[in-house]
């Protein structure tokens, strides 16, 4: 086992809804080497967000264990070794771009000279140099999302979590953000788990696409994406990519119909 190995072992999660137990995740297992990019895809209510929250240590499994490099998510929290970005940025509206990117260090309670440089570097990397003092309210949706990505990466996390990071953006902007994210990620390939609704986004970014099925949430199939990096956007128009996309969609569709 190499450091940074992601191991999800027989994880189940039950919720108590009006006194009845609702099974949101049923014995989910998944393994991935360090530095892999995993996309979770599936219908609403398939438990992909629940799984992401448990990876973040924001929720605990009812059964099973989650280990990242042999450590629990809670331990990673304490070490400041996690990073997360949400769909609509979730920035602190009263903090400037610079202060938002710095936020993880404020909570962790450290701010070395290297950290300070890292904040500036991240802002430059996501292309927001010159906007350090702007408030989130003064930025466009795409720019806000860049701030969120910078914030998620600034503490050099061991595990990066993305919850539909570009879900609120239009198709064009989403694609160019996908390309930028890939560039950032290739500079330092951190183990990443991304929840998404978009099949082509999953194929473009991920090494493994995990197709989940609902009620209760299970892993339907894990598909290895064969394309070399760095992937160009034109990849999305290739026949192989179209083929893979159709396959994944078919998987999701079949299950929906079984269900109905």
């Amino acid at each position: 086992m190499t450091v940074g190995d992601l191991r999800i072992e027989a994880v189940s999660r039950r919720f108590d809804v009006d006194g009845r137990a609702l099974l949101a995740l049923d014995s989910v297992s998944l393994e991935a080497p360090a530095g892999s990019f995993i996309a979770l895809i599936g219908p609403s209510g398939c438990g992909k967000s629940t799984l992401l929250r448990m990876l973040a240590g924001l929720d605990q499994p009812s059964e099973g264990t989650i280990r990242i490099g042999g450590l629990s998510p809670r331990t990673l929290q304490q070490r400041g070794a996690l990073g997360i970005a949400f769909q609509d940025a979730s920035l602190l509206p009263w903090r400037s771009v610079e202060a938002n990117v710095r936020f993880p260090f404020d909570v962790i309670g450290r701010m070395s000279e290297a950290d300070r440089r890292r904040v500036q570097e991240m802002i430059e990397l996501v292309g927001l140099g010159g906007f350090e003092q702007a408030l989130p309210g003064q930025l466009s949706g795409g720019m806000r999302q860049r701030v969120a990505i910078a914030r998620a990466l600034v503490s050099e996390p061991q595990l990066l979590l993305l919850d539909e990071p570009f879900g609120a953006l239009d198709q064009i902007l989403r694609r160019s953000m996908n390309r930028e994210l890939q560039k950032l990620w290739l500079k330092r390939p951190v183990t990443t788990v991304m929840v998404t609704h978009s099949v082509d986004e999953a194929i473009f970014l991920a090494d493994k696409v995990v197709v989940m099925t609902g009620r209760p949430g299970r892993i339907g199939r894990v598909i290895d994406v064969p394309f070399e990096r760095e992937r160009p956007l034109s990849l999305l128009n290739s026949a192989e990519c179209r083929q893979l996309e159709a396959e994944i969609l078919q998987l999701m569709f079949d299950h929906e119909n079984d269900d109905a």
Binding site: D16, G19, R53, A56, G57, L58, Q77, Q78, R79, G80, L82, G83, I84, F86, S90, L92, P93, W94, F103, P104, D106, V107, I108, L135, G137, R151, S155
Partner: protein, 523 residues
């Protein structure tokens, strides 16, 4: 360009209104000169200016101290409620009482129990408490839960969440609450002077001048009181602008925070304590006053009062005196409230049909939020005389503005797309209102009713006290003069209780109605 033209139209509208007022005043159109001309009011104000400073100072001083004390308590309670949910449930009885309580009802007891500035400060503080408390709780709890997730993700606990997110997030909402609380403090201070003999203070000055029937002076005092109130309001607005900039007050929370599941037994216990706590607070207050040297002759605990209520040592039992007075008061209260709400609804509808009307009315209504409107009722007495018309006029005037603001906001929130559904089918504006706007703003109508119910009761009581000499308002005034302390306490408690019940009744109706249409109440 169009914007400027509209602004000119509105300015002309305001100017025309002022001109009409001037003419009406000069020619004594209204109630034989009870409505003086603006220029006459200003002239009188300049003439009397020498008398004003001590009154202004007394009002500003007492309302400011009360404002500070009340807010300190409110922020502390709000903080506890936000940090530990059961506290909110336990304090709900006290909170509802403080919201629904007509401030003037406490005046007689405060005047008996305290000297000097204290009654005014206490009433100002009590009037301040509710809006600030609510704002504190909302600001600290209605947070996009993902902001808190980010803190937890980096290993931050409750303290880090408070320090980095909750406190700063609460600030704009808190300041908005303080803005509502500020005019309330001035109102509390003024109302405490209504029943406390003579002295310095604009409330005293107003009551003292009422007998002389000098409309110009009464209007001048009203103007000054409003100016103080508006000054408070604007000061906080400016602080908010500088401090929190363009950040909007708390948005609706995304993840709902469901109540932790508890046994039915615990629920009942919490409710019981919530109901008993206000009584305990009363008991504690009486005990505290006794310790402070106030004669127990003038004080009554809940037990004392319960015994006295049906005691046969009086020619007429307290219960029957108060019952009779309430029977006189309540019909007026309900009628005034219905008329105020109806009037507000009508104008809100007209406002959606004619945007210009709304642009003229809305600033006026918002302005009225900074006015100690209830305290200005002597002016209405002057215009409408001393009969039922005055009661109605006062009750409508204190209920109309807040109801209108709530309703107009609700109608402005009707989604364009829903209105378009009527438009594309060729429906008229009127049809849009009937089929979409009206049903859509039902929760806002309910919220408006809930908001104005206690105000209507307060309005009727003040009208009865100052003008008609009937009902529970009059009893409040008479009892104090007759030194019948048992009666004073009974009237005060009855007034508070009725107001709370009125509020709860509207709340229950609201829940029933909204549940039927699967709608949620507006905060």
């Amino acid at each position: 360009m169009r914007d400027r033209r509209q602004r000119t139209t509105i300015a002309i509208g305001w100017l025309a209104l002022l001109l009409l007022w001037e003419v009406a005043g000069r020619l004594h159109w209204v109630a034989d000169g009870a409505l003086p001309s603006p220029s006459g009011v200003l002239r009188q104000l300049v003439e009397d200016w020498g008398d004003y400073p001590p009154h202004i100072w007394a009002t500003v001083r007492t309302s400011l101290i009360g404002f500070l004390v009340g807010n300190a308590v409110a922020v502390l309670c709000g903080f506890l409620m936000a940090s530990w949910r059961p506290v909110g449930r336990l304090l709900s009885g006290i909170n509802v009482t403080l919201f629904a309580m007509p401030p003037i009802a406490l005046t007689p007891i405060l005047v008996i129990a305290f000297d000097g500035d204290a009654p005014r400060i206490v009433l100002a503080a009590l009037a301040t408490y509710y809006p600030t408390m609510v704002a504190t709780v909302l600001g600290l709890t209605r947070i996009d839960s993902r902001l808190l997730d980010v803190v937890r993700l980096y290993g931050g606990g409750r303290w880090a969440a408070l320090r980095w997110v909750r406190l700063r997030h609460a600030l704009p909402t808190l300041l908005a609450g303080l803005r509502v609380a500020a005019p309330n403090a001035v109102l509390g201070s003024l109302l405490a002077e209504f029943g406390s003999g003579s002295g310095a203070g604009l409330g005293h000055y107003l009551i003292g001048s009422l007998g002389r029937g000098d409309p110009e002076r009464l209007w001048g005092i009203g103007l000054v009181a409003t100016a103080i109130s508006a000054l408070f309001y604007v000061a906080i607005l400016l602080v908010a602008r500088c401090w929190v900039g363009a950040q909007a007050p708390a948005q609706e929370s995304l993840g709902s925070q469901g109540d932790a599941a508890r046994g039915a037994g615990t629920q009942w216990l919490i409710t019981l304590v919530a109901v008993v706590l206000p009584l305990l607070a009363w008991w504690a207050a009486v005990w505290g006053l006794e310790q402070a040297g106030v004669s127990s002759f003038v004080l009554r605990t809940p037990a004392d009062l319960a015994a006295e209520l049906f005691s046969s040592t009086r020619p007429e039992s307290l219960a029957s005196i108060i019952g009779g007075a309430l029977l006189e008061t309540l019909p007026w209260c309900l009628a005034g409230m219905a008329l105020g709400l109806g009037f507000a609804l009508l104008l809100a509808i007209l406002g959606t049909l004619s945007p210009v009307l709304e642009r003229v009315l809305m600033p006026l209504s918002l302005l009225s939020q900074s006015m100690p409107l209830v305290a200005l009722t002597p002016l209405i007495v002057l215009i409408f005389g001393r009969d039922g018309a005055t009661i109605l006029a006062i009750t409508i005037s204190v209920t109309f503005f807040p109801a209108y603001v709530t309703l107009a906001q609700g109608m402005a929130l009707v989604p364009e797309a829903t209105q378009d559904c009527v438009r594309v089918l060729g429906g008229s504006r009127l049809k849009q209102v009937r089929l979409v706007s009206l049903p859509w703003s039902l929760p806002y109508l309910c919220a408006a009713a809930r908001l104005v119910a206690p105000r209507a009761f307060l309005g009727v009581m003040i009208a009865e006290w100052l003008a008609t000499g009937t009902g529970i308002g009059n009893l409040l005034n008479v009892a104090r003069g007759s030194l019948d302390y048992g009666l004073v306490w009974a009237v005060v408690v009855a007034a508070v209780l009725v107001s709370v019940l009125l509020y709860l009744m509207v709340t229950v109706i609201e829940q029933r109605v909204l549940k039927r249409f699967a709608m949620t109440p507006v905060q």
